[in-house]
């Protein structure tokens, strides 16, 4: 009973934290655009979390180069569970054009449990919002 009240409130108040795993910055710019007044995500309770400890959803962009791997793992340890992970952009999905490069590790979902994938290079802000909403619906449906 309390679990479903908390889950409902988590779905109504997801604070997002932006993680870049060696991205080219385009997806980061689109994530920034999502948080501008034009798209008004505060309607859905979405706020940008300044600290990883305040995060409920990680917006992961970037192809996961080798330097990012230990840092992303550390971030995942630091975030208070439950936390959603949304992979943004084709690099986060399957490393895009950078697959097989000497500087790359594995795609994001080998290191983090991804709940939603948002394809695009970069995805439009509307697509990113749809990704977050899909992840929230999955959260409500699963629990």
């Amino acid at each position: 009973m309390t679990m479903s009240l908390f889950t409902k409130c988590l779905a109504k108040s997801p604070w997002v934290y932006h993680v870049s795993c060696g991205s080219c910055n385009n997806c980061d710019i689109e994530i920034l655009d999502v948080l501008t007044p034009r798209f008004d995500v505060e309607r859905f309770g979405v706020l940008l979390a300044g600290s990883i400890r305040h995060a409920d959803a990680l917006l992961v962009a970037g192809a996961m180069n080798r330097k990012s791997i230990p840092r992303v793992k550390k971030l995942w340890e630091q975030v208070p569970k439950p936390c959603l992970v949304i992979a943004i952009g084709s690099c986060a999905l399957g490393q895009g054009v950078f697959r097989g490069s000497y500087a790359m590790g594995e795609p994001v979902d080998k290191y983090l449990p991804v709940h939603a994938y948002v394809p695009g290079c970069p995805p439009k802000p509307e697509a990113i919002i749809l990704g977050v909403v899909t992840a929230l619906k999955a959260l409500e449906g699963a629990k």
Partner: protein
Amino acid sequence: MTIETLLFDLFVLLVFPGLLFTAAMGMLASWIDRKLTARVQYRVGPPLFQPLYDFIKLLGKETIVPKGASKTIFLGAPLIGLSAVTLFSAMVGAAMIWPEYGFTGDLIVALYLLAMPSLAIIAGGAASRNPIASVGASREMKMMLGYELPILLAVCVVLLQTGGELRLGKIIHAQAVHQLTWPWVLATLLALFAMLLGMQAKLGLVPFDAAEAETEIMGGILVEYSGAPLAIFRLTKMMLLWAVPLFASALFLGGSFTSWKGALWALGGYVVFLVLITLIRNTNPRLRIQHAVGALWKLAGLCALAGILVAFLWR
């Protein structure tokens, strides 16, 4: 001290006008602030119960205490802040409804209680074992040095106007029945201006929110807080958003809930303060800590001093 008075005191402290009532009104005030911010930015803004959703969500999240952090202070500081603001709002609310409920000197107790949430957040930030939190804590300390001065000078104006009354109920009554002579109005306006800037800093809002600058230092003081302690700190901030402007409208405008006229001044003054605080928050950049303290001492402090001069010369 009978069992009835004890139960009544507990009711005043915990239900009305204490913890539960102030928490509810604080969430409403926080929503008004966010909604007004959204409208100013041509947005729609969050739904009415958004602060409540935030609070419940944070209660259900994992609480992580950083390794090497002082666990007692880290987890205890939010509770100290919450109890101080609960007591403060209970005292001020009770003085506005039942003026004989207080005691002589409860104004001074209220002012001390008002300092405690900031001290609690400083302690919590300092106990977080994080350099970012230390920076935030040191900035909050400097900010306290900054805003305590204009707030106390503004309260001195009230003391001069009421002839040295130290009892909240009597001060409110004296302010309510006072004639609107021009020295009184001038002194009150000067004191209100100083109090407005002091409140902005006390509530940790732009342009005086260097301590918790999200874009600069990742949440500042609260960077390591998660889960229930974070929920309690945020609730404390929301309760201050209700209690402090109400305190100002009681003290300077004579607002009280013993009469219709008093309630009009109390709630009308509160709404005006809240709107002003939100609009100032939305139209100003953040001041650097040295400029913030400078503005609080020079601009607000000198205004309050001028108010004291006017109130003293035409007492």
